[in-house]
């Protein structure tokens, strides 16, 4: 099975509102796909159908080639999920919760003990193993949620905004876990609002809006196809209004914004040659540059332009 996660013409209507409109995506085996789109684009609806939490109005969703609607028990056997921010049974401890969910997957006592220890170590929750979940913070619950998703060693993992609602430290910790997961041979689909995160972690990306697929492909290809880049510039001395005006008239430059007297950023349409020309142009203006750098959110530029076009 080369595409362990696949949807075919997936459509979902909610009381006349079309949340998904013939959506077809496929996630390559052993790849990490980012699933992007604005609020209400249909990301969570797609994920809920893939995890049997919703049924489609039409179309099909497959995990490892098994139609979720036809044989959910079989399809879900080799799948680990974190959908939205799940809540836990407050009276159970992480160990008991993992035992409950692991037993439903067919794990025996010995495997449960071993894997519980391993996954709690991975998510750095070992010292909380015997405390009741009811008192845990959102970040701790999210880590337990990730632990239960990988407990039964599935080949396919689906994550729905795993860093949503977490504080910066919690986001950093979850991102670390995701980076670790990437090193292993999982096939992962992860929805996220954080484009930097997707750019850092994912191999492929699918962009959707209004329930329709806008673009799908590898992150590298996407970035290469994005002909617009955002640049941050810092000068040694003050940049005057007239200099800024002159810069905004350079070839390919748009959306110039200044921050204080020495910093500005701009969007540049064009390839590396255009960027090199801009750098030369700035120096020819007599500006002494301290900093001239892409801000690393190329995907964001592409995302914004695609979303804008699809409105």
């Amino acid at each position: 099975m080369n595409e362990p996660i696949r949807t075919e013409n997936l459509t979902k209507n909610f009381n006349g509102f079309r949340a998904l409109d013939n959506l077809s995506i496929a996630v390559r085996k052993n790849s990490f796909m980012g699933f992007l789109g604005p609020n209400g684009a249909g990301k969570t609806t797609t994920i809920k159908i893939l995890t049997d939490l919703l049924s489609p109005s039409s179309g099909s969703a497959y995990i490892n080639g098994i139609d979720i609607s036809e044989d959910p028990k079989k399809a879900l056997t080799d799948l680990g999920t974190v959908v939205e921010t799940p809540e836990f049974y407050p009276y159970l401890t992480p160990k008991e919760t993992l035992a409950y969910l692991g037993e439903l997957h067919g794990m025996g006592d010995e495997d449960l003990r071993r894997r519980t220890k391993e996954v709690l170590e991975i998510v750095k929750m070992s010292e909380w193993a015997d405390k009741r979940v009811g008192k845990f913070s959102k970040g701790m619950k999210q880590r337990i949620a990730i632990a239960q998703a990988i407990l039964h060693e599935p080949s396919v993992i689906i994550l729905d905004e795993p860093t949503s609602g977490l504080d910066p430290r919690g986001m950093y910790e979850v991102r670390e876990i995701l980076t670790e997961l990437k090193k292993e041979d999982y096939t992962i689909l992860m929805s996220s609002h954080l484009l930097n995160e997707v750019q850092q972690v994912c191999d492929d990306v699918a962009l959707i809006n209004r329930g329709q697929l806008l673009k799908i492909g590898s992150v590298e290809e996407m970035i290469a196809s994005a002909n617009v880049r955002r640049l941050d510039v810092r000068t040694l001395t003050e940049t005057t209004e007239s200099q800024l005006k002159e810069i905004s008239q350079f070839k390919g430059v748009s959306d110039l914004e200044s921050f204080g007297s020495r910093d500005f950023s701009l969007s540049l349409e064009g390839a590396d040659e255009t960027q090199a020309d801009l750098l030369t142009g700035l120096q020819n203006m007599g500006l002494r540059l301290v900093h001239f750098k892409e801000n690393g959110v190329t995907l964001e530029n592409l995302y914004m332009s695609l979303i804008k076009d699809s409105r």
Binding site: F14, N30, K48, T51, D52, L53, L54, S55, P72, K73, K74, A75, L76, T77, D78, L79, T81, V83, E84, T85, P86, E87, F88, Y89, Y91, L92, E96, T97, Y100, L101, E103, L104, H105, G106, M107, D111, R132, A145, Q148, H152, E153, P154, S155, K183, E184, D185, Y186
Partner: protein, 291 residues
């Protein structure tokens, strides 16, 4: 010089575990639901209520200077007449939020994507609820029958029959609770409706039908009345009496006292249990985590 070549090979990973049979999974769901009852103090709370009821029934007669009944069946009758209300409390505690809580508390996001069928989840939860309820009834009747034996010197067989009828009524009440839980949106609403349905709504319908001269044989709480009637010897039968009401109407008011027939009551309780559970499954299976 040592050269280390590390090669990471992507393999055909597949979860080594196979989801157990539906029957095994029913047992797993049941086990952890009972653990949840134990941890949430519901069982302990229910035991405390039972202890209070037993204490009041046993302690009040001597405090008022009354003696206990000499007959073991008469003795158990007072206890049996309170079993109905305990069952309503139990159905509210153990069934009222059994399904809806998975949706409202978002624990369904954890449980439903697991390789387990909705009918398996329903069966496991239902068995946990009925198991907890039966345990409470065994405890209640055990103490009551023991006290009867101690005080009257005789063991009440009719008391055991009352227990069996109480178990049937409890099963029906829990099934109705599951049905309510599978259609309601909130746990509090589901629990209040379960409690109110048995305590007020069914009672009002029974009262209105009785006054209208129609036997409410199809109301499950009316059938539940057999729990205490069975301990009366002979078993009471429906009959009409004319009350002396001079000044109201010539000849007085004709009143009919209805008593459920045992066979009909058992059939009604079974019908409520089966139909409610089938409907509960229908609604639970269709329900989606759309919120």
């Amino acid at each position: 010089m040592i050269e280390i070549n590390e090669t990471i090979t992507k393999t055909d990973r597949k979860s080594p575990y196979v989801a157990p049979s539906d029957l095994s999974q029913i047992g797993i769901v049941m086990k952890y639901d009972i653990l949840k009852y134990l941890r949430s103090s519901r069982l302990i709370g229910f035991v405390a209520i039972e202890a209070l009821v037993l204490l009041l029934i046993t302690a009040i007669p001597p405090l008022l200077g009354n003696s206990y009944a000499d007959n073991a069946d008469e003795f158990i009758n007072t206890y049996a007449s309170f079993a109905g209300i305990l069952i309503i409390i139990g159905a509210t505690l153990f069934a009222g939020d059994a399904i809806v809580s998975e949706f409202q508390n978002r624990t369904g996001y954890l449980l439903f994507p697991k390789p387990v069928k909705r009918c398996t989840l329903l069966a496991g939860k239902f068995l946990a609820s009925t198991g907890a309820m039966f345990l409470m009834l065994f405890l209640y009747y055990g103490v009551a029958l023991g006290l009867g034996l101690l005080i009257t010197g005789r063991f009440s067989i009719l008391g055991v029959e009352s227990l069996l009828l109480a178990m049937m009524y409890a099963t029906a009440a829990i099934s109705v609770g599951f049905l309510i839980s599978s259609v309601m949106k909130g746990t509090t609403g589901a629990q209040i409706l379960t409690f109110a349905l048995f305590l007020f709504i069914f009672t009002i319908i029974t009262g209105v039908l009785t006054v209208s001269g129609m036997e409410p044989w199809f109301i499950v709480s009316y059938s539940g009345g057999t729990i205490s009637y069975i301990t009366q010897d002979p078993y009471p039968i429906s009959g009409t009496a004319i009350g002396g009401t001079e000044g109201f109407a010539p000849g007085g008011i004709e009143m009919t006292n209805y008593y459920p027939e045992i066979g009909v009551a058992i059939a009604v309780m079974l019908a409520y249990a089966v139909i409610s559970l089938v409907l509960a499954y229908y609604f639970f299976n269709r329900r989606q985590m759309s919120a």
